[in-house]
């Protein structure tokens, strides 16, 4: 984003003046203050009224914190588990034990790659059947020992490939939906970046669904939607609006439980602040859910999903 680059340049300029101020003893504090005010105003202007499409760009921003960044910063003692016990290990979905505020939990996260090498290894977070089956194994482990589950969603979608179809990725997703819908332990899902369709939902059936402010969650990517409904991939901005895929939209519709605010300029601009908000929200949600009797928890989750959807009656008869 070119506006972002302007901000980066301005920030660098301020930094330069600061070092001059220190090293040469020239008093530039007035100038620095002026520029800082300008920077702040520009940030506010640029980021306070993001369009839906700009949020899509943020959700996919290359500097955006990924699942392992949160696992590292929000949790302690992450102990990664590997493999689905049948086919292999899928690095696009990490699973493991960890502590959240001292409590043992199971954490699942879809991990995009930062470097080119890592991107290839993790297939940009596009999860394969053995990733979902590893997740299911970890979910059942959590249930067995009453560990709360936290899932961090960030995927363009399930991996579309020959091998994935051979291993029946559709069935792997379906079985996770079934497993999660009645899992007898609390589940909190947080969409940190892209919530790409069934590939995201497969670790997203939860008692509490949270989204970061600039995360998205959609039945289909805006590009794919545009190419299907308009037969024109370039109309993705319109598609992004039509799909109602941003956190504020989904919250307004009651499809998610809360939106976690991001620092001005996005989660990556001030990761420490983001971490703090995420940790306190997760801790609070897990505490609340863990306090409920497990039968009640599962019943509430069931009611939530049983009632999701929008339609109208066409007659007064009830069948």
């Amino acid at each position: 984003m070119s506006e972002e680059r302007t901000l980066d340049l301005l920030e660098a300029k301020i930094e330069e003046l600061r070092s001059l101020n220190r090293e040469d003893g020239i008093d530039l504090s007035g100038e620095i203050e002026r520029l800082e005010k300008k920077l702040e105003a520009m940030r506010r202007e640029l980021y306070s009224n993001l369009s839906d499409w700009e949020r899509v760009r943020f959700a996919r921003h290359p500097k955006r914190p990924y699942a392992l960044d949160y696992i590292e910063a929000v949790f302690t003692d992450f102990y990664e588990l590997h493999g689905d016990r049948i086919v292999g290990d899928d690095p696009a979905l990490v699973a493991g034990l960890a502590r959240l505020d001292g409590r043992s939990v199971v954490v699942l996260g879809q991990q995009k790659g930062r470097s080119t090498e890592e991107k290839q290894l993790r297939l940009f977070g596009m999860t394969r059947p053995h990733g979902y089956r590893k997740a299911r194994r970890a979910l059942l482990l959590a249930e067995r020992f009453s560990f709360p589950v936290i899932t961090l969603i960030d995927t363009p979608g399930a991996y579309p490939g020959v091998e994935a179809e051979e291993l029946n990725i559709g069935c792997a997703i379906a079985e996770n939906l079934l497993t999660m819908s009645s899992l007898a332990t609390p589940i909190v899902s947080l969409v940190i970046g892209e919530g790409g369709s069934g590939g995201a939902l497969a670790i997203g059936v939860a008692d509490c669904i949270l989204m970061l402010e600039n995360a998205i969650y959609s039945v289909i990517s805006p590009e794919a939607a545009a190419s299907i409904v308009w037969r024109d991939k370039e109309r993705m901005k319109e598609a992004a609006v039509a799909l109602n895929l941003t956190a504020p939209h989904l919250f307004e519709r009651g499809l998610i439980d809360a939106v976690i605010s991001e620092p001005l300029g996005g989660a990556h601009r001030d990761f420490a602040a983001t971490t703090k908000s995420v940790r306190s929200e997760l801790v609070r949600r897990v505490e609340d859910l863990a306090a409920l009797p497990v039968d009640e928890l599962v019943e509430k989750r069931y009611e939530r999903y049983r009632n999701v959807g929008q339609f109208r009656m066409t007659s007064d008869d009830t069948v």
């Binding site: 399930a158 991996y159 579309p160 490939g161 020959v162 994935a164 179809e165 051979e166 291993l167 029946n168 990725i169 559709g170 069935c171 997703i173 379906a174 079985e175 939906l177 079934l178 999660m180 819908s181 009645s182 369709s197 069934g198 939902l201 497969a202 997203g204 059936v205 969650y217 959609s218 039945v219 289909i220 794919a224 939607a225 299907i228 409904v229 308009w230 037969r231 039509a242 799909l243 109602n244 895929l245 989904l250 519709r253 499809l255 069931y302 999903y305 049983r306 999701v308 959807g309 929008q310 339609f311 109208r312 009656m313 066409t314 007659s315 008869d317 069948v319």
Partner: protein, 281 residues
Amino acid sequence: MSIFKEKRYVRVDVESKPEEGLWMKCKSCGDLLFKRRVKENNNICPSCGEYFFLTAMERVETLVDEGSFVDGAKPIESNDPLMFVDSKPYSQRLDEAREATGLADAIVVGTADVGGIGIVLAVMDFRFIGGSMGSVMGEQICHGMETAVEKKVPFVLVSSSGGARIQEGVYSLMQMAKTAAVRKHLADARLPFISIMTYPTSGGVQASIASLGDIIIAERGTMIGFAGRRVIQSTIAKELPPNYQTDSFALEHGGIDRVVSRDVLRTELADVLSFFSGVLS
């Protein structure tokens, strides 16, 4: 693998009025066919064996004991929650689909007998916006499963869908979770769920309720898969195997229990249901 020729579907155009004229032309062999003869033959071309596309009600007729189907759908329709507009408004798209099919949405639900065994049957109709699953279909499937639990009878779902309904956004996506959640009630009540996959069973439907049957039967000629062929081809940039995402591919890789030709689907369903008559009181 198969000793049979792979059958491909011929889609009957939505525009064609089935009641007009006594004759039709097979798009595969070009023969002029007497419509009633085609119907008696389970909508299979008597000349070349090609399968014609079935509407939901035609499917019901080929599957259940004659005259046994009783509509049990909830009286609901989509309220276009996102007020979605693409090349035309979704509300208009819905009106057109209703007009063309005579259905409220892409699914028919009711009770029926198959070989004398009572079931709840839900059948998708591909003509209605590609058989896509939105809030209405999700609710009807759940309603069907709940009716089966209430009546203590098996649940049979015949899928024919391109996946989730884009025009309902995340509401559509959530129907995958919704149907999966309700599916558990059938298991808890020890009621069998037979999933029949017909052309095509893909996307969000294949990745949810259709894959959760106790037994999964595919009609010969079915396309089964999660991601669309074009999506995969653009991702991996190489040719796909010729039988890719076909019924035989799914059978070979362990995704389904059996592949059955249309003319014996009804007897096959009756046979498999009969195994469970002991547990159905």
